[in-house]
């Protein structure tokens, strides 16, 4: 649906220029929710603006729905933009227009009659669950309501793509979730392709199918959300995952000699984590029974991403040395990640 090829964007002339996006090539499949994550200044907002040419890339080509936007005249580009909706962090609603007026704005000049426009606006407002606020002005709405109106407005011309630039970053966690679920629902109901720009891994985890991680203007890692979570390669990706997982807490517990992480001789602390989608066996109890070991779970952080569990467990294992070895081999064979964090076994 969206093909970005060798996109570069440089701001400013001369030696003070900034290369916001460097040679990015991305392919976004139709009907998917695609996340682009990065810390602020990574170039993700510039990159998403290259998709509808709000920023025209210095180099590279942009193809959306088989149409090369980078080669269009400004009039053709305006027509193409109507097929690409966009929502923003600060909603960007027009304060002098009511909710109805805001959603009707992009329908002006679309050839629809006044009556048809009203009909369309009302059905859009119903779609985003805000029909009752039709006559309100943006200043009378909460953040979440404003974003719903912005979504309705972005969908007015039946776009095939919806670009979301930090759409939930100004919202509280509960509202964020509601908006994310709305985006997901629209994606499922209408088959619209959604591109989500965010600096929150939780957003990616919640709704995205695929994700690209950006750093210093480049895409450093890209893949299915589950596999990125299970096997992050780049340090920046690991940083992001750490922000949504509690598993690294064990390092702190050990550092401060917490009583819950005290080992007796012969015991060890292991982190067990999912690396594949298909693990559904009751591994802990199986290991415990099969190898006659005690597993004392210190804590655990497991979530469901793309309908598969992700995360893991930190546990103290105690038992016979050889059995522990065997158990770990068994787990690895079952495609579970095993990492020994602290070891109090006496070396023989």
């Amino acid at each position: 649906m969206i093909e970005l090829t060798n996109i570069s964007k440089t701001f400013g002339p001369g030696p003070g220029q900034v290369e916001a996006v460097k040679d990015v090539t991305l392919s976004i499949e139709k009907g998917k929710i695609f996340g682009i994550i990065g810390f602020s200044g990574a170039g993700k907002s510039t990159l998403v603006r290259c998709i509808n040419l709000l920023e025209s890339p210095t180099k590279g080509t942009v193809v959306v729905d088989r149409q090369e936007l980078t080669s269009l005249s400004s009039k053709e580009l305006r027509a193409a933009r109507k097929r690409i909706g966009m929502i923003f962090q600060h909603f960007n609603l027009m304060r002098s227009r009511t909710v109805f007026g805001n959603v009707a704005y992009p329908l002006h000049g679309s050839g629809l009659s006044k009556k048809d426009i009203a009909k369309k606006v009302r059905s859009l407002l119903r779609l985003v669950d805000i029909a009752e606020k039709e006559k309100a002005y943006p200043s009378q709405l909460s953040g979440g309501q404003k974003q719903r109106v912005a979504i309705a407005r972005a969908l007015a011309n039946d776009p095939k793509v919806l670009l979301c630039d930090e759409a939930t970053s100004a919202l509280d966690p509960q509202t964020t979730n509601a908006i994310l679920h709305l985006l997901k629902r629209l994606n499922e109901q209408m088959g619209i392709t959604v591109v989500v720009i965010t600096h929150e891994m939780a957003v990616v985890k919640e709704i995205c199918d695929r994700v690209a991680v950006m750093e210093k203007g480049q895409v450093v890692e890209e893949g299915e959300v589950f596999s990125i979570f299970a096997n992050p390669c780049q340090p920046v990706t690991k940083d992001f995952i750490r922000t949504t997982s509690n598993l690294q807490k064990i390092d702190e517990l050990l550092k401060y000699n917490s009583p819950v992480a005290q080992l007796k001789p012969g015991e060890l602390i292991v982190k067990l984590f999912y690396v594949q989608k298909n693990v559904s066996e009751p591994l802990i109890s199986t290991v415990s029974r099969k190898f006659d070991l005690d597993l004392n779970i210190i804590f655990s952080d497991i979530e469901i991403v793309q309908n598969a569990p992700i995360g893991g467990t930190v546990a103290i294992i105690s038992g016979e040395q050889r059995q522990i070895e065997k158990a770990m081999e068994y787990l690895i064979e079952k495609n579970v990640g095993v990492e020994v964090i602290a070891d109090a076994r006496v070396s023989e």
Partner: protein, 226 residues
């Protein structure tokens, strides 16, 4: 009543026809030059906003030229401008004196100020709104009318109020080119012939006019703020 007025403002009562004519002259001068300045200033302010770096019709040459012209005329004190544009007045209006002769300098004195007012009212518009309009496929003309102007009605009303009041002040000086008006009236009789009651009544009329303009401006601004 007549008696009473004759007592407290004797000089003015003796000059009533001139007084009324002065009010009319002021209104005509302010009205015409105000209407012309409103249109020109609005166009100029918009042109500055859309051509400036990062604007929707970015054009550095045009922007620099407009910016410098505005600064040039803003730096000329009005009393000098009055005589400075006389040749132009003669060319456009056929005369450089009287009410007609005052309109050209009043426009030159007001447009630069008003276009800066417009510029700052339009600059209040969040760039995000422009970006949103662009993302919806709006053309530059649509953005000018349906976003910039529509969203800044309150700001424009405030700028217009300030400009109208300062224009009223400028008309007082137009007496220099023989344009008449309230300012000229007050100077000629109130000051030169020491008829203080003329001065005071003129002040009262001006204060009432300014208050009315301000009230109207505030009303329009409030009506358009949501």
């Amino acid at each position: 009543m007549q008696e009473f007025l004759n007592n407290i403002i004797p000089n003015l009562m003796g000059k009533l026809p001139t007084f009324y004519q002065s009010i009319m002259d002021t209104l005509i001068m302010a009205g015409w030059s105000g209407a012309i300045s409103f249109v020109l200033g609005l166009v100029l302010g918009l042109a500055i906003i859309v051509t400036k770096p990062g604007g929707i019709l970015q054009n550095n040459v045009l922007f620099q030229v407009l910016d410098k012209i505005i600064n040039f005329f803003r730096s000329i004190p009005f009393i000098i401008l009055l005589t400075g544009v006389m040749p132009l007045s003669r060319l456009i209006m056929g005369t450089a004196i009287g009410v007609e002769g005052a309109i050209v300098p009043l426009v030159f004195g007001t447009v630069p100020f008003f276009s800066r007012q417009i510029e700052s009212a339009l600059a209040e518009i969040d760039h995000g709104l422009i970006e949103a309009a662009l993302s919806m496929g709006s053309s530059p003309l649509e953005i000018i009318f349906r976003v910039y102007l529509k969203e800044s009605i309150a700001g424009i009303a405030r700028g217009t109020t300030i400009t109208a009041i300062s224009l009223l002040g400028l008309t007082a000086m137009a007496g220099v080119v023989g344009a008449g008006g309230l300012g000229d009236f007050a100077i000629r009789y109130g000051h030169d012939r020491n008829m203080t009651d003329v001065t005071y009544v003129t002040i009262i009329v001006l204060v009432l006019t300014v208050s009315a303009i301000q009230l109207l401006g505030n009303y329009v601004a409030k009506k358009n703020t949501h």
